[in-house]
Symmetry: C2
Subunit: 147 residues, 2 copies
DNA sequence: ATATTATTTGATAATAATTATTATTTAGTA
DNA sequence: TACTAAATAATAATTATTATCAAATAATAT
């Protein structure tokens, strides 16, 4: 598993100890494509790592976020999810399945960036602008796609 | 107070009993311009209405949302806030002060709507699209404004 | 106006998600 | 291989929110 070696160096680079727990948790978030919650990460790793506690999962995810290795995003219902993609992108939240799907579109990015470039922003330091699409997944077997 | 009479008819129209609690809570959300949490609504009304309980505030806000009289929006940190504005609009979340500020812009709306009109949307029924701006408020006394 | 009744409320308990505490363990270093 | 600061496991605590249910009340009928 070459991936774990890569994660190991990411941790080192961030000045974090490369513990087994961090490797496993970081790897789990990267493998789960739908922005897992802490609970989801916990249950995905527990078969192979029964000794890792839920508290450690929460604390580790927080550490990874604070050190810029993961992003954190709230669902419309207010639950926190973890995102291995660090670049700015949008999300589609499927209200019926609670899936959170990435949405990338160069053109939309440009459109929005250009739009705000033309605006006067008073008393605000913008950190990021994101588009969120809420909707219902129609066929739960098929993928959601906007293209 | 003419406002309360108006709220009363909104409640009736929605098929809800116009209770004192509902009038007071709805009025409080409308008066507080920064999308209050249930706790904030509770503390804003408790001086004049010491008998209204926090549970009632939560349940009433939920009822008002379910009947289309209020909207509900999660902050980036996952807490729920209540919004008296029902039309589709964006929000600016001020991470330092936790204020949630409305952002209206016709032009941006049109831009986004037109953009998605040109897209193929597969297996998804879009309910709404919103733009969220996260940033830091620079001077806590002055207002945030994008124009 | 009063009685009737389905709804709503207040008090309280319960739950869900997350964070804190602390003794024990471990990764990185010497 | 030993040392030590940092991390973890187990557990308790907290925060935000929802559920329960007996008592109160708004809307309707008399
Ligand atoms: Mn708008
Ligand atoms: Mn929550
Ligand atoms: Zn994402
Ligand atoms: Zn708003």
């Amino acid at each position: 598993m070459q991936k774990l070696t890569n994660i190991k160096s990411q941790l080192k680079e961030a000045g974090l100890k490369a513990t087994h727990q961090r490797l496993v948790i970081m790897n789990a978030v990267k493998e789960m494509s739908d922005h897992p919650s802490a609970e989801k990460v916990f249950s995905s790793i527990k078969a192979n790592n029964p000794s890792i506690s839920l508290g450690t999962v929460y604390k580790t995810l927080e550490t990874l976020v604070n050190n810029g290795l993961l992003a954190k995003v709230a669902t419309r219902e207010g639950q926190m999810r973890y995102d291995p993609r660090l670049d700015n992108h949008g999300h589609i939240y499927l209200t019926n399945t609670k899936e959170l799907v990435d949405y990338y579109d160069e053109e939309l990015d440009t459109l929005i960036i250009d739009f705000f470039k033309r605006k006067r922003v008073n008393n605000l330091k913008i950190k990021n602008i994101s588009v969120r699409i809420n909707g219902e997944k129609l066929d739960s077997n098929k993928e959601v796609l906007i293209k």
